[in-house]
């Protein structure tokens, strides 16, 4: 039964206590996973910072050779890659998101705790892969956006780009799993009474960010897959001399890349929307408009990627469209800025370090936004492209907007996370040095850019007149480094302090995380809270939200001590058991990546075996696998839908974008081949039969599900065996088709048509193969009596995946085979 948050009895062990090293390695507690993200992100922050300092040292004076040009290129590439993929996203999503989502929505953990741990371990493996070039093969040096065809093996031989591409693929997989997990958690696991319009704004931002992750990352995945095919198998997806266009990479990359900016910015907006009301002692101004503006920003962010490509010559119509959407996105962003200012206006301000950083964010991010609007104008952008003006702009957005927010979040939530306060005095020094260092470093870049200094330039001549401002920037960078050093010292001092622990609610907070202990116990809440309005914890303390609640506070009313409506024994709370499989699985993935890069196929096979066995092991790890959850606390806001079903549908949604990227590439390239067989080679009778087989397998699949649901074990086995058989027949047909094409002279690398065809249809075939494997495992479970009515959900989930593979084939059959005579783009 739902209840008010219960003040925890004394001596409750916190999530940080117990378990030893093995406890941390096998943990699936969202808070411990968050802490592991923190440790890895702080390490990579130091590494990325070191790379930035090296860049600034190199630019200190004209014609400098403190670094070689090659090392300089590697450092600016790895600085961008590290800060975006290994620092900012892990901190915002992996650390703060992981730690706070269950606490702010009143849940005990995320929807898929083991998947959450897997996300972390994969992210760590990605970070290691990205940096293995330090040991062998050199660091990648083609920029964080790795423009084609610079990344082709002809132009960049060696292992460096391989490390980069495979590391990013693993990192992207980790992020997609995180997005899927967060979306499902926020949708399904909110405490009773927490409607969407009562969620903390940080939860709104993370929910929308998760959707953005699911629809943005597949484009990057496809772009990287094409790149790896070019590098490993000799295809020519980005090679102009083969009739292809490197512009394809730019489209795929920025289809991911611009939403990625908002994947970093939206959680920051959410955090600021938490910090400002707390320290202004006022509810967030314009809550509904803030929520809607987050949605609008996310939607528009998917339609602005072209403003990164004005210089490529997309044509006046496309330029105009992208300019309009880029300008439009300033409107909901402006709504947020004004709402924060209105929240502060008339508030009872407490000038803490967290609030300082929040105020700093508003100012610096607005400056970045203003230069961003300039980029929305194609003629102006053409002057600024690839200049230091762009470097200034995105650092004002990503450092001024996002890093300032991360610091605000640290000072705000650190007491909750660690049970210790961060030093305010040291914090103020940290803040002011950051403001000075940041503006000294990045503001002059606007001028340098307008004067013509190109970004990524290794050095410059003394006669260019850029020396003084560059020296100012380098001084600023060193001040920033000192500021970060103070931050690390503050953390160290806080953790090593013997002073009294932080109280549960040190800031007189508004949301539910402040209702539990600092640091929280493993189960978060003794009882799942009942939500009665926005700012749930504030209402419990002061009795009312909004301005009347403020009046109660301003009149000196002491916060009431919320009482539980019934005693609850914490021994009755069952948390999921730790699991070693996420760690082992991610190690398997890492070994596959390693084997691919060093070209050692035995290593790949070992990694693949470990990966597959871990997946199967995870599937059967819990005795109640595949059973419908009947625990009302498990997913109170799901409307009765199992969280696994929501998660799988989210994955399917993401796969739509994955296949759309593949299909569009096929359509673009199918008529651009310069030689060899074309679409006429496709065999319609054979694929019509394959289509029939796949459609009928879907029929058998639903019949298998119906048999399972009514407890008919005999027909359950028969229909499942039928689906597997039909799947194998389809795969056999595909093998026959590929073989016959090969015999007719059409191999993978023959021309653009063949490579885009084989990759598209091959990836679909790989999905079918995974489905066959999944269903085979279920069939074995059915044969050994481990399936049955109570585990119908297992069959339903596998069926959903199988039907999706079917509908993708419906599209492929039409667009690829039946429209073979229709010219491509």
């Amino acid at each position: 039964m739902a209840a008010q948050p219960k003040p925890l009895p004394a001596h409750q062990p916190s999530y940080l206590e117990g378990g030893g090293i093995l406890g941390w390695l096998t943990t699936i507690d969202h808070k411990r996973v968050a802490v592991m993200y923190l440790v890895s992100a702080l390490f990579f922050l130091a590494l990325g910072g070191f790379e930035a300092m090296a860049i600034r040292v190199q630019l200190w004076r004209p014609d400098n050779h403190a670094l070689s040009a090659a090392v300089y290129n590697a450092f600016f590439t790895m600085h961008g890659t590290t800060m975006i993929f290994l620092v900012v996203m892990p901190l915002l999503l992996g650390f703060f998101g992981n730690f706070l989502i269950p606490l702010q929505i009143g849940a005990r953990d995320v929807a898929f705790p083991r998947l959450n741990a897997l996300s972390f371990w994969l992210a760590l493996v990605a970070g290691i892969l990205l940096h293995l070039g330090w040991i062998r093969g050199g660091l990648p040096d083609a920029g964080w956006f790795g423009y084609a065809n610079l990344t082709e093996r002809y132009f960049t031989p060696g292992l460096a780009i391989d490390w980069w591409a495979i590391g990013l693929l693993v990192s992207g997989t980790s992020t997609v799993l995180t997005g899927l997990n967060f979306l499902t958690t926020i949708v399904a696991m909110r405490a009773p009474g927490m409607t969407y319009m009562r969620m903390p704004m940080f939860m709104w931002s993370l929910m929308v960010t998760s959707i953005l992750i699911l629809i943005a990352f597949p484009a990057l995945t496809i772009g990287l897959i094409f790149l790896l095919f070019d590098r490993f198998f000799g295809t020519h997806f980005y090679v102009a001399s083969a009739g292809a266009t490197p512009i394809l990479w730019q489209h795929l990359f920025w289809l991911f890349g611009h939403p990625e900016v908002y994947i970093m910015a939206l959680p920051a907006f959410g955090i600021i929307s938490e910090v400002i009301p707390t320290f202004s002692r006022k509810p967030l101004f314009g809550y509904p408009m803030m929520a809607y503006s987050i949605c609008l920003i996310a939607f528009l962010s998917y339609g602005v990627w072209g403003h990164h490509m004005f210089a490529t010559g997309m044509g006046p119509v496309a330029d105009s469209a992208f300019a309009i959407t880029s300008m439009l996105i300033a409107i909901p962003t402006g709504v947020k800025i004004f709402s924060w200012i209105a929240t502060i206006w008339g508030g009872s301000l407490r000038m803490t370090t967290a609030f300082y950083f929040a105020l700093g964010m508003i100012l610096e991010f607005t400056l970045g936004g203003l230069s961003g609007i300039m980029h929305a104008s194609a003629p102006i952008d053409l002057q600024q492209t690839d200049s230091y003006f762009v470097v200034a702009h995105f650092h004002y957005v990503l450092f001024g907007g996002v890093m300032f927010t991360i610091m605000a979040a640290f000072y705000y939530w650190w007491p909750k996370i660690s049970g210790r306060m961060l030093g305010e005095r040291l914090g103020k020094w940290h803040f002011w040095l950051t403001v000075i260092g940041f503006n000294l470093t990045f503001f002059p870049m606007h001028f340098l850019g307008m004067w013509g200094m190109p970004r990524r330039t290794y050095t410059y001549g003394a006669d260019m007149g850029w020396t003084n401002l560059n020296q100012l920037e380098t001084i600023g960078a060193f001040i920033l480094a000192v500021a970060f050093l103070l931050f690390y010292v503050n953390i160290f001092k806080s953790l090593s302090s013997r002073e009294e622990r932080a109280p549960a609610d040190p800031w007189d907070g508004r949301s539910l995380e402040w209702s539990t202990a600092s640091p929280p116990p493993a189960y978060n809440f003794a009882t799942i809270p009942q939500i009665r309005g926005r700012d749930a914890w504030w209402i419990l303390k002061y009795g009312r939200a909004g301005s009347r609640g403020v009046a109660a506070y301003m009149s000196g009313q002491a916060p009431s001590q919320p009482q539980p409506d019934q005693p609850v024994s914490v021994e009755d709370i069952h948390m999921p058991a730790p699991s070693i499989f996420p760690l082992v699985l991610s190690l398997g993935v890492g070994v596959i990546g390693l084997g691919l890069i060093i070209d050692w196929y035995r290593i790949i096979l070992i990694g693949a075996a470990v990966t597959v066995l871990s997946i199967v092991g995870m599937g059967f790890e819990y005795a109640d696998f595949g059973e419908q959850s009947h625990d009302p606390e498990h997913a109170p806001s799901s409307g009765g839908v199992d969280v696994r079903k929501i998660g799988l549908w989210s994955f399917i949604g993401s796969e739509c974008v994955f296949f759309a990227s593949l299909i569009s590439t096929f359509i673009v390239y199918k008529s651009r081949s310069l030689a060899g067989p074309g679409p006429k080679i496709l065999n319609i009778p054979l694929t019509s039969f394959s289509t029939f087989v796949l459609l009928m397998s879907s029929l058998l699949m639903v019949l298998a599900l119906a048999a399972t649901q009514r407890g008919d074990k005999r027909w359950e086995r028969i229909w499942l065996a039928g689906v597997v058989t039909f799947g194998l027949i389809f795969l056999g047909g595909q093998v026959y088709e590929f073989t016959s094409f090969y015999n007719e002279g059409m191999g993978l690398t023959t021309n653009l048509f063949s490579q885009s065809f084989f990759v598209l249809v091959g990836f679909h075939g790989a999905h079918v193969a995974i489905g066959v494997l999944w269903l085979s495992v279920l069939w074995v479970a059915a044969m050994t009596g481990k399936l049955g009515k109570s585990r119908a959900l297992s069959v339903e989930l596998a069926g959903l995946y199988w039907h999706f593979v079917d509908v993708v084939w419906i599209i492929i059959f039409t667009l690829v085979y039946l429209m073979q005579a229709v010219p491509g783009a």
Binding site: D642, S688, S698, V702, K789, L800, H803, V807, I811
Partner: protein
């Protein structure tokens, strides 16, 4: 067997075998129509719209009846439809952008 079988979770109802068979029949007929359209030259002027409509119909039948979106909560429909719309927009946008590029790029060589 009843046409509407009780669902396992007590929240939604899935169709029974009869509905599944009818849908399968429709899917076969629609596929046969697609292949026919491909081979009948007289229909080639309207090949693209015809095939798109037929494929969309098959897609919708599988998603609505076999994947049960017609019977499940709207939440799941939303989780699927939004990315599907985005994916469709992406497909159309890239085709149009590259069509422009192809028409305006200098010939290779």
């Amino acid at each position: 067997m009843s046409d509407i079988a009780d669902a396992h979770d007590g929240q939604t109802h899935h169709p029974g075998a009869a509905t599944y068979l009818i849908i399968a029949a429709f899917l076969v007929i629609l596929t046969a129509m697609e292949v026919t359209v491909f081979y009948v030259h007289a229909l080639h002027p309207v090949l693209v719209p015809l095939l798109i409509v037929l494929a969309a119909a098959k897609f919708a039948l599988v998603v609505m009846f076999y994947m049960h979106l017609k019977y499940d909560q709207w939440l799941l429909t939303g989780v699927f439809i939004f990315p599907l719309i985005i994916a469709t927009l992406l497909l159309v946008s890239l085709i149009l952008l590259f069509a422009y590029l192809s028409n305006h790029m200098a010939p290779i060589g």
